[in-house]
Structures are given as structure tokens and as C-alpha cells.
């Protein structure tokens, strides 16, 4: 009797202690931390300082928050020279996957976000459908900028009811990187113009792949099937996974199913190496010459150079992608509604996304411009890459984005593609699941997202 009472009591004690420990240890993954009002972000103080200073000398400090490296050092110097009353506090927030949730929390909490913030294109999609946290830039005078940018780039910043919440910084473009030496060994043309002529369409790309496979060269035609659907759908449809009214159509969109089946066919023809993007094996495969082609946006060319190593200099080349054009990646600048200085923030965003601002960023980190004038500027179009056999990278990339038509993606597009369908295709490519099973599983996961 006494023993059992003692037991219940200590059991209760254990439960209590566990609860405390769990609460104490439950750090970052605890959602309530995020939305709690006691979050005191670092950026806040700067904004307050600025408001206090304002009446004295009309001196304004703007906080600019970006992720990774937007290449804005020189551009900001120039901006401050042109606007002596504005100081820009540029806060680099690290990786996108850390910054995006932070920004969402600051916007939800109503404080902490900068006066101008960087938005990656996939992240922007979520805000397009929930634009309340951002200023409508058209009310700040952005209608003057219509026509400055590529149409589809400008279009993606506009909400269903016609508000403009973000201005384009860079784009990715999309070309095809290929191994000229392996092409030669397989008896295929290796000159970039001839290669472009070899695959005007995806069917031609498949045919060239079969020829490559049959030649007996010890490499796959491409790294993985998952690289195909995105450019394929963007070239051939104006919707992807979601209809303009927000309904999931990934299971019924015929163009997407076509792209999926085509990707699976590449796998079944034994043309793919079955590699998943961003894994150690994938990056190691560049150095081991495991595959001959890879769709590549402009920002990937530097990575390919790194991964392939100096031994492969002059072996990679770059040409147009089958079907003509494409884009992968790119960002925007938006102005959170919580800013105290919307007009000055607009001036900053406008400057950084002007052709001049784009070219500053291109000089600094090679960010590909999204404004028509900068894309046509000789300093961009004449850019070449020594590693890729002196390929005119600027010109090829500019062509890849020039002809793109706007496409409706929807708030959940990035999530649906990267985390559901791309992974499903990877499972097929790795031989883990049949095409139909993987597709059905992806559809049900996507439907559960909403």
C-alpha cells in the first residue's frame, strides 16, 4: 500500500519533470515561440532610432534585409551618394531557408521586418495571395515602371486584384550545360550552335540521348529526370499545379502529366543517372563525369565550375535548352506595410531594381538582370565564361528568358513542386516506386496541403 502510493507519487513527479524539461528543451521547433509577442527582433531598434532622428535633420535610415548575396555593396554606395539624407542599413540574413520563416514571423507580428526586404520568387507566391503585409507599390508610384522588366517577371509581382507588391531583381534563365568532350566521344556534334540545332524540341533531345546511350560512352545522358518538368511545363502551358482560382489541378493538367511521362520515359530509356539534386552524390558526380547534360540557370554555372573542378575546364559548354526558353530562380524586393518610410523605401527598391541597379549586382556577384534594358546592355550580353569554352553565357541566358510567357503558379507552387512532385519523380528515377504509384501519392500529398 505504502509502496504503491510512493510509486504513483514518483510517477507523477516524473511526468511533471518531463513536462518541464520538454518545455525547456523545446527550442526552435516550438511554433508558439514564433508568434509570441515577446519576440524582439534585432532590426527593430534601427527603425526606432531613425524615427527619433527624423525631425532634426530629416535624416532617414532604411533597413534593407536580403538573404544570401544580392551583390548590393556598390549599388548602395551609389544610392547613398544620390540621396544624402538616406542611410541604408543592409542586413544580410544568411540562407533563404533561415530568412524566409523569420520574415514570415516579423510580418505576422507587425514589427521586425526591414523597410525593404528580399523575396525569393517561390516565397513571393505565398505573399501574392496574402498581400496585406506589403505596400501596394502602384500607390507609391510604381506604375511608372511598367515595361522596364520582362513581362512575366513584372506579372508575378501582381496580385489577383491588381496590387503590385514586389519589383524584380534578378532572374535565373535556363540553358543546357553539356559535356562537349563526351558528345565528341559519342559521335554527336559538340559545337554549341550545332548542339542547339540538334535539339530544338524535347523529342529531339530524347533522340540525341538514345544515340548517346547507344554509342557506349560510359556516362548517362542527364543527371536526373526531375530536371525536366519545370522547363517543359513553363514552355507549354499557362498553368502549372494550381488554377488561377486556387484549385489544385496537378492531377488534371494535361501538360504537366505529359512532362511527367516524358521525364519517366527518359528514366525508362536508361538515360538518367537517377541522382537527386543537392546531394553529395550529385555534386560528386560532376567531377566523376557521370552524365553529359544538365539544365542550368545562370547562377548554376559557377557551381558547376566548382563541382567539376579545374580538370574539367574547357570540357563543359553551354547552349540553348530544348523548347527554347526557361527560368529557374530569381528574386524580388518588397516593402512591408509596417515600414515608417514607405516613400524612401520605394526610392531604394526602385533604384536597386532599375537597369543600373541590376548591372551593379551583375558586376558584383553575376546576378542576371530582369530588366529589359540591362539584359540588352553590352556589359551583360558580351559576358562569356572561360570555363565553358568561352561560351557567350550572357547572350544565351538573355535569350532563354526573353520569349517566356507568364504562367500562373499559385501560393503553394514551390512547396508542391520541390517537396512533393520533384521527390516523387526522384523516387521513380531511383527505381523505388512505379510512375503511377509515385504520381498518385504525390497527388494525395498535394491535396492534403490545402
Amino acid at each position: 500500500m505504502r509502496l504503491s502510493r510512493h510509486r504513483t507519487r514518483s510517477a507523477l513527479a516524473v511526468a511533471g519533470v518531463t513536462a518541464l524539461l520538454v518545455a525547456a528543451c523545446g527550442g526552435d521547433d516550438d511554433s508558439s515561440d514564433a508568434s509570441g509577442p515577446d519576440t524582439e527582433p534585432a532590426g527593430d531598434t534601427d527603425v526606432d532610432d531613425a524615427t527619433e532622428e527624423e525631425p532634426a535633420g530629416e535624416q532617414v535610415t532604411l533597413v534593407l534585409q536580403t538573404f544570401q548575396d544580392f551583390g548590393y555593396d556598390a549599388a548602395l554606395e551609389e544610392f547613398e551618394r544620390l540621396h544624402p539624407n538616406i542611410t541604408v542599413d543592409h542586413q544580410r540574413m544568411g540562407e533563404l531557408r533561415d530568412f524566409a520563416p523569420q520574415l514570415a514571423q516579423w510580418l505576422a507580428a507587425g514589427s521586425g521586418a526591414g523597410d525593404v526586404v528580399g523575396l525569393e520568387e517561390g516565397i513571393l507566391l505565398g505573399y501574392i495571395e496574402n498581400p496585406d503585409a506589403f505596400h501596394n507599390l502602384l500607390e507609391l508610384g510604381a506604375d511608372e515602371l511598367d515595361g522596364v522588366y520582362l513581362d512575366w517577371k513584372w506579372d508575378r509581382g501582381i496580385t489577383a486584384d491588381g496590387q503590385l507588391i514586389a519589383l524584380g531583381t534578378d532572374v535565373g534563365g535556363l540553358a543546357m550545360c553539356y559535356r562537349a568532350d563526351l558528345f565528341e566521344a559519342a559521335g554527336l556534334p559538340s559545337d554549341r550552335d550545332d548542339v542547339a540545332a540538334l535539339w530544338p524540341t524535347w523529342d529531339d533531345y530524347l533522340a540525341a540521348g538514345q544515340q548517346f546511350r547507344d554509342s557506349g560512352v560510359d556516362a548517362y545522358w542527364l543527371d536526373g529526370a526531375a530536371g525536366i518538368p519545370q522547363p517543359y511545363v513553363m514552355q507549354n502551358s499557362d498553368v502549372f499545379f494550381y488554377s488561377p482560382d486556387g484549385e489544385f489541378i496537378g492531377d488534371t493538367n494535361p501538360v504537366f502529366r505529359e512532362a511527367w511521362d516524358f521525364a519517366v520515359q527518359l528514366h525508362e530509356e536508361d538515360l538518367t543517372a537517377g541522382l537527386t539534386l543537392w546531394t553529395e552524390d550529385w555534386t560528386a558526380a560532376f567531377e566523376r563525369s557521370e552524365f553529359a547534360t544538365r539544365p542550368c540557370p545562370s547562377w548554376m554555372t559557377g557551381l558547376i565550375e566548382n563541382w567539376s573542378g579545374p580538370d574539367h575546364a574547357g570540357l563543359w559548354d553551354i547552349t540553348t535548352i530544348p523548347g527554347g526558353g526557361g527560368n529557374w530562380g530569381g528574386s524580388y524586393l518588397g516593402i512591408p506595410a509596417q515600414t515608417e518610410h514607405p516613400q524612401e523605401a520605394y526610392e531604394l527598391a526602385k533604384f536597386l531594381t532599375s537597369p543600373e541597379g541590376h548591372l551593379f549586382a551583375f558586376d558584383e556577384v553575376g546576378a542576371m538582370p530582369s530588366s529589359v534594358a540591362a539584359l540588352e546592355d553590352p556589359s551583360f550580353t558580351s559576358s562569356t565564361s572561360g570555363y565553358f569554352r568561352d561560351a557567350p553565357v550572357g547572350q544565351i541566358m538573355a535569350e532563354s528568358v526573353a520569349g517566356l510567357e507568364p504562367i500562373h503558379l499559385g501560393a503553394l507552387h514551390q512547396e508542391t513542386w520541390e517537396n512533393i512532385f520533384e521527390q516523387a519523380l526522384n523516387r521513380v528515377d531511383a527505381g523505388q516506386q512505379s510512375s503511377d504509384d509515385a504520381f498518385d501519392q504525390a497527388v494525395s500529398e498535394a491535396q492534403a496541403l490545402q
Partner: protein
């Protein structure tokens, strides 16, 4: 303080007045001071412990996303959605599997190591410090190194296994290899830590007990199971509970192992519940309400599992008292 504003009265009156104030202050001090002294804990706990828990409960009953804000009260909808969410059950299964694969060998091994280190050894301090070294290593560095070791095709583990003829494993995209690899990471890091805790407890056991046992003819193995283990039972229970909490909240190791992919493998082969909470709360939909519901369920599961483990371990170690 009030005395200074008054005109200077007689010395005696002033003294009694002061005495009365100090008496009152003294009484207040006696009553309130203890609470004041312990209040920092309660204030901090209130802010960082109690409030988040209560707020999580609150949020879990709303359709609340970070992008669209609070969309209204939905009662227990988030919880019923959870029951039908195959991704959650998958994450729960992974978490349990990795907890068992990692924790059981880890604690047994720690016990053995501690027992070895408890003997008189040459360079004992070096060994004792050495086993703690993995614990002081940055988790991200551990993740990167293990990422290389368990890379699918060109990794060290694959190379070694092929040398002895076992063949290839798909480290990230097959459940069992993924669980095993992550468990090895967890064990590598935590075994030494637990061993050190056991060692500290073992040193408190009086030498005479062993001497007496030796005279009675008990060998080392026998001494270990009938003296050492029962006498450090409270410490074992402590590590079991800590490992349960840590194991059920496993997050960083599988995340880094999967190159930062919060889904953990292309078929979610090694996604834990904590990762799933993060994915739902801070990815894509930013669904805070649903994330809160999952964390709350995880919280309850941890308490339950800790209780079960506590009982199991206590039953299985016999002590003199029963």
C-alpha cells in the same frame, strides 16, 4: 524615507519611529524575501515555459497561418486532421524507430564504457575527457562529416561495406539504412556524455562493497550487475528520461544528414515529428495552428513514453528495497 521630509522631532521619538518602520520592513522582508529570491525562476519559467505551452494550446485550436493571419476558431479540427495525416504517422514511426535503434545500444554501451573507465587505468583522465569530445563537437560539423561517410555512392561507409562484400546501401532513400545511419550519428555524439554521467555515479559507490563481494567470490561481471547497476539506478532512470526526451525531439541530426531537407529523404524515410512540425509551421503554408497541434501531440507522446520507460527500467533493475 518619510522621516526625512518631517521636521526633526525628538531623538527618542525618531528612534522608535525608525524602529517601527524597520520592524515592519523586517516582517515584510521575512515574508516576501523568499518569494522574491525564487521569483526569477518563476518569472523566466512563466515567460519561456508556461506561456509558450499555453499559447500553443490556444493556437492549436485556430485556423492560423503566418501569411493570412488568424482565420478563426476551428475547435479540434487540427487534431482530427492529424489523425488522418499519413505524413504525421510516417514521421512518428521514424521517430520511434530511431529512438529505439539509437537509445538502447547507446545507454548499454555508455554503461560498459563507464564501467571500464571506473577501473584503474593508465591515462585515465585522457580517456575520460576523450569520450566527451564528440559531445563538444558542433552538430553541423558532425552532420557534414557523416554526410560524407554515408554518401550514397562515393561514401566511406559504402566503400568499406563493399570491401567486405556486403554491397551498397541507399543510405537516405531506404528506411532501415537511413535510420541506422542517423542512429550512429546520435550515438557517436551522446554515448560519451551518458558514460560520464554514469561514471560520476559509479564513483560514489563505496569500495568496500566490491571488496566484500570479491571476498565472497563474485567476479567482475557479477559485481557489475548486482552492485554497480542497482546502486546507480537513479542515475540510469535520469538518463533514460533525458534520452527519451532528446530522442523523441530528434531534429538536427536527421536534418543535416539529409542535406538540410526538412522532408528527410525523397520518400520522407527519416523525417522525425519535430521536423514535420517545422515543415508545417515554417514551410510552404506556414500553418501555425496545425504545427501547434502536432507539437502538442508530440508533447503528450513524450510524457507518455517517458513514463513507460521509467516504469520499465525501474522494474527491470532489482534493488535491495524491491
Amino acid at each position: 524615507m518619510t522621516t526625512t521630509t518631517k521636521p526633526p522631532p525628538g531623538e527618542r521619538r525618531q528612534r522608535t519611529h525608525r524602529r517601527r518602520i524597520s520592524l515592519r520592513l523586517g516582517r515584510f522582508e521575512v515574508k516576501a524575501a523568499p518569494y522574491l529570491f525564487i521569483s526569477p525562476f518563476f518569472i523566466l519559467f512563466g515567460i519561456f515555459g508556461a506561456f509558450p505551452i499555453i499559447f500553443t494550446v490556444y493556437v492549436s485550436m485556430f485556423d492560423w497561418t503566418l501569411l493570412a493571419g488568424n482565420q478563426g476558431f476551428v475547435g479540434l479540427d487540427n487534431f482530427s486532421r492529424l489523425l488522418g495525416d499519413s505524413l504525421f504517422w510516417n514521421a512518428l514511426r521514424n521517430t520511434f524507430a530511431m529512438f529505439i535503434i539509437a537509445t538502447v545500444p547507446q545507454l548499454l554501451l555508455a554503461l560498459m564504457i563507464a564501467n571500464l573507465l571506473n577501473r584503474t587505468l593508465r591515462a585515465r583522465t585522457m580517456f575520460r575527457m576523450g569520450i566527451l569530445a564528440p559531445y563538444t563537437t558542433s552538430l553541423v560539423a558532425v552532420g557534414i562529416v557523416f554526410g560524407f561517410i554515408f554518401a550514397e555512392r562515393y561514401g566511406l561507409a559504402t566503400y568499406l561495406l563493399e570491401m567486405i562484400g556486403v554491397g551498397q546501401f541507399n543510405w537516405r532513400n531506404e528506411q532501415l539504412p537511413a535510420w541506422a545511419a542517423i542512429s550512429i550519428m546520435v550515438d557517436w555524439r551522446w554515448t560519451g556524455y551518458n558514460a560520464l554521467i554514469y561514471l560520476a555515479a559509479m564513483q560514489a559507490i563505496p569500495r568496500q562493497l566490491y571488496e566484500a563481494a570479491a571476498i565472497d567470490g563474485a567476479r567482475r561481471w557479477r559485481q557489475f550487475w548486482t552492485i554497480t547497476v542497482p546502486l546507480i539506478k537513479p542515475t540510469i532512470l535520469f538518463t533514460v528520461i533525458l534520452s527519451t526526451i532528446g530522442g523523441m525531439q530528434l531534429f538536427t541530426e536527421p536534418l543535416v544528414f539529409n542535406y538540410g531537407r526538412i522532408q528527410g529523404g525523397i520518400g520522407r524515410e527519416s523525417q522525425t515529428v519535430a521536423m514535420y512540425v517545422y515543415e508545417r509551421t515554417f514551410g510552404g503554408t506556414f500553418h501555425v495552428g496545425y504545427g501547434a497541434a502536432i507539437s502538442l501531440v508530440l508533447f503528450l507522446i513524450i510524457i507518455l513514453v517517458a513514463l513507460v520507460n521509467f516504469t520499465l527500467v525501474r522494474r527491470s533493475i532489482r534493488t535491495a528495497e524491491g
